[in-house]
Amino acid sequence: MDTIIETINVTKSFDGHEAVSDVSLKVSKNELKSIIGPNGAGKTTLFNLLSGQLKPTAGEVLLSGEHVTSLSPTYRTRKGIGRSFQITNVFPNLTCFENVRLAVQSKEGVYYNMLSHFTSHKKINDLAHEVLSTVLLDSKAEELAKNLAHGEQRKLEIAMLLALDTEVLLLDEPTAGMSIEEVPKILEVIKQIKETQNRTILLIEHKMDMVLDLSDSITVMFNGALLADGKPEEIMANEQVQTAYLGGLYNESS
């Protein structure tokens, strides 16, 4: 299978502390890969390196074989890497529709016909509504984002990501801070995206059960380094992983 994202020996240090050290990772096109690991393992830092929020101290990031290490987040998004953040990131004083609309128009090229009335493009509006219904938010289109429940805001965030229509989706703990009732709904949304078979999804997640069901492959990080990488069954069977991460987690929850 084609590799879409590749990191070659990337390292990121903050004042001498290596948050990510020497990670070489390959993500195949259209797979759903989960990144798991205890707090402070460097998962979010790795995401920041992939999306361009941070530049690596050493190493290279490749997108479809092309070096993107020096590109800014803006240009990486245009090249096909979209991401969500651990903390919910929507525009509070815009409506759901406007939030998604912004993402759609970014993808369609903002500089084209900037001054036209923003509802004048039927195609763009239809697209925005379509995305909203994918994440089951079409009934809330005209509501201000700040009035949504937390779970709905995360869905809106995913909708914006979808609207960008990037090949790669980086989802940083999409269920973080969500109530138990809301979690299955967001899983449903992710499952639906996965089933379209045209997106590569990278997922940071703490909830193991969800990751096991959903993922094509799992990467385990520990203390900034890559501990293991493989199919969910292999990871479950991996003794090193058991002791370093899974064991601890299951003990905690039992």
Binding site: S72, R78, F91, N93, L94, L102, A103, Q105, V110, S116
Partner: protein, 289 residues
């Protein structure tokens, strides 16, 4: 009655002029956190260049055109060569834009001499109307009308266009806009130039209103605009409009009835607003962090 109506109209007209300055300033600040103390210089140059062209050609329309063009031109140069290098650093922004303000203010004297420049009222707008014994000066109504037009245009731009959507979102969270693949720096340059054009326009409008233009008015009005931006709430155009009219009207009443404290009135207003609503009348960001 006569006095009160005329003072109100005066205040409205002054308020509209300040609004034209403050609208650009508030967007510049809201969008990119840039403190631009040189905004008054754009206003000043708009006034001098506009009045000069008006006097030379006897066409007020050409004067307005010249004022807007000089605003756009200076605005572009200012953003590219003065603001861009100090982006993200407030202290440096204050120092260099204040410096630019002073230099541009003195350069006006180099080009047009140190004396005040007389500004005539265009023939079609001079004179006044009389309504049941109350005299209303035409040009003041004209200023109010133009200000209102610009305000409505801005609202349309912000609420109904693609660019407006990007700007509103950018004021809330610029990192997020960038994450969506939008180059906010380009949008910012556009907004900066728009603000500069409005400042230039305000300059030429002021000329016939006061009859003279002088080099120090750049700093004076620049400061007033800053006060208005803070009162209205940074990043809010509607807030700036409300605050500008408030400052304009309050100022003109104060200078009529209590001339001794007329200068302090604006500061007092700012103080009171900040005590009860630190983010300004309609702002979402706190002025003092």
């Amino acid at each position: 009655m006569d006095a009160i109506i005329n003072i109100t109209i005066n205040g409205l007209a002054t308020g509209m002029l300040i609004f034209l300055l403050a609208a650009g300033l508030t967007l510049i600040f809201g969008l990119m956190d840039v403190l631009n103390f040189a905004h008054g210089a754009l206003f000043l140059w708009g006034a001098y260049a506009g009045i000069w062209v008006f006097t030379q050609t006897d066409s007020y329309l050409l004067g307005v055109f010249a004022a807007v063009i000089i605003g756009i031109l200076l605005g572009y140069l200012l953003e590219r060569y003065i603001i861009l290098p100090v982006y993200g650093n407030h202290i440096r922004q204050i120092m260099i834009t204040l410096g630019a303000m002073l230099v541009l203010g003195e350069l006006v004297k180099v080009v047009w001499g140190p004396n005040v420049m007389i500004a005539n009222t265009p023939a079609i707008l001079s004179g006044s109307w009389e309504f049941s014994g109350i005299l209303i000066i035409k040009y003041r109504l004209f200023v109010i009308f133009v200000g209102l037009l610009v305000f409505l245009g801005l609202l349309f731009l912000l609420n109904r266009t693609k660019l407006g959507l990007v700007v509103r979102a950018g004021v809330m969270d610029k990192e997020m806009v960038q994450a969506l693949g939008i180059n906010i720096r380009k949008v910012f340059l556009g907004v900066f130039i728009l603000g500069a054009a409005m400042a230039g326009l305000a300059g030429i409008l002021l000329g016939p209103y006061t009859g003279v233009v002088y080099a120090e008015m750049g700093l004076e009005f620049g400061l007033l605009a800053f006060i208005v931006v803070i009162i209205g709430g940074m990043g809010s155009v509607v807030g700036s409009a409300v605050a500008a009219l408030l400052v304009g009207i309050l100022g003109s009443f104060a200078s009529y009835y209590l001339p001794d404290i007329s200068l302090a009135v604006n500061m007092l207003l700012m103080l009171i607003v900040l005590i009860f609503k630190p983010s300004g009348l309609m702002g979402t960001k706190e002025a003092v962090k």
